[in-house]
Symmetry: C2
């Protein structure tokens, strides 16, 4: 029996089970302070355990290098109280079982590979487009990373010819996240995407697909994945995933394996909103 934790900026979801189709207990905890939130996480597993291992996939940036003095911590987040917060330490001390630790998107990639759209594949990308843009990649079965984890939302993207939005990333301005995340979409159109009238929705999709596809182009030429999974709130805009797939084929300009031009190379998560919690189970199993 494993524990899974999906730690986000507004809520932490915890589950006990053996996979996304076998969840024995689950809870949602509001993200307040690290002490309070992690305390509630520990209480949940105390009540619904024992578990043999726990997989924790959280918002970042995080320190993933096992030998590093800050291993298991969230590092320099702007989120109040959470900069430097030790996540792995308190859970490990309280439960005394192995703890797997990854970014939320690395976890989602693991979950999709094990139980979702990536089953049977070895090299995939999971990209979330929501409040921010982030990605996790698995190549030949191994999570991609090194000095730290990927920050795929911050690659450069060429401007859409009719888009005058300056870009909202506090670091880079008009990087992928700065041009394609939810808050940008809302600022560009003056309203949340679901409220857009039909007259504007088509243009909004076109511009959004332009940026996401140009981000994917960079990932395809760097990672050569077998499949790209597009998750997050913004990816639910009707027709966006299909538009991104078509735009990607157009801008790769035939310089790519032919399989990439087939429909089904860019897909929605096979597990819907459960990729992350599934990833926690896969992560727990990997460290058990």
């Amino acid at each position: 029996m494993w524990g899974s934790v999906e730690g986000g900026g507004t809520k932490w979801v915890c589950a006990v089970g053996t996979g996304p189709d076998d969840i024995r207990a689950e809870t949602t905890i509001p993200t307040t302070t690290p002490d309070e939130t992690l305390g509630a996480v520990i209480d949940f597993f105390g009540e619904h355990g024992p578990v043999d291992a726990v997989g924790v996939a959280t918002f970042g940036p995080v320190e993933l290098r096992p030998g590093h003095v800050d291993y298991g911590r969230i590092t320099t987040t702007p989120k109040p109280d959470w900069s430097g917060a030790d996540v792995v330490g308190p859970i490990h001390r309280a439960l005394g079982v192995p703890i797997g630790f990854e970014t939320d998107v690395n976890g989602a990639a693991m979950g999709e590979m094990r139980w979702g759209a990536g089953v049977g594949l070895e090299s995939i990308i999971y990209l979330t487009v929501g409040t921010g843009v982030g990605g996790g990649a698995i190549s030949h079965g191994t999570l991609v990373g090194g000095l730290s984890h990927p920050e795929m939302g911050h690659v450069s993207v060429p401007r859409h010819p009719t888009d005058r939005f300056p870009g909202a990333c506090p670091f880079h301005g008009d990087c992928l996240e700065g041009m394609a995340a939810g808050p940008t979409l809302e600022a560009r159109w003056g309203m949340p995407a679901p409220d857009l009238p039909a007259s504007k929705a088509a243009k909004a999709i076109e511009i959004e697909a332009h940026y996401v596809a140009h981000g994917l182009r960079n990932f395809v030429y760097t990672l050569a994945p077998e499949l790209i999974i597009l998750g997050g709130g913004v990816s639910k805009m009707p027709g966006l995933v299909e538009s991104v797939g078509e735009k990607l084929v157009e801008i790769l300009a035939d310089y790519a394996p032919s399989e990439l031009s087939e429909s089904g190379f860019v897909v929605r998560p096979g597990l819907g909103a459960r990729s992350g919690i599934a990833g926690g189970f896969a992560l727990a199993q990997s460290v058990q």
Copy 2:
């Protein structure tokens, strides 16, 4: 004893030994037709062998998926006679030993990891900037790839503010390769880089560093490597590697681990021009 083959567009280099510091025999064969060139490769190992395994790293694109009907072939190169050429088959049939097969840049990354600038690391990028631009990446000890191998030269890069060169990539125009490869440099300035007068050389370095650093930015945010090794003819322009390192730090804009800002994150190959032939030995060992 291993065999190493570095297959390029103008010459194929073959060596017998156990590593770059222990080469027992070596030869250089002009690239003519596949029959003639591979025949000479086979003759060399017949004469200087026996070897226990051979590692072959060649120009691409190549088919690397072991189960694929075209495994071991160069696929759709514009190079006359070589499109579809079977590289692994003839060598394997003639020598009867295991053959490792990779792209030239994947091979160079393996060589640098084993004997060069990447010793002791787990995640590196080897980028060559020469007649073309190409890269190989190792992440947590595993070569990055999937549906195919990376084509890092084809990521998008923002235009340098004073550069009016349209871009020379036949597929994408102004991608990294189209803006930074040797032929582009020569076309932009009307002469080969080594011939540039001092009055133009500084500006040429600045523009070249801009494009290479912007390419590296995309690789850093996608792969999070511990080290970037910059090889190829163009990388020998005096001061270029240093300028690229400084420019990269500037455009990452503090959104990266602090280790990245230290000098020595972007370096020259530890093996000089021997990365590729070293990679063939590492590759041979990996399949033996």
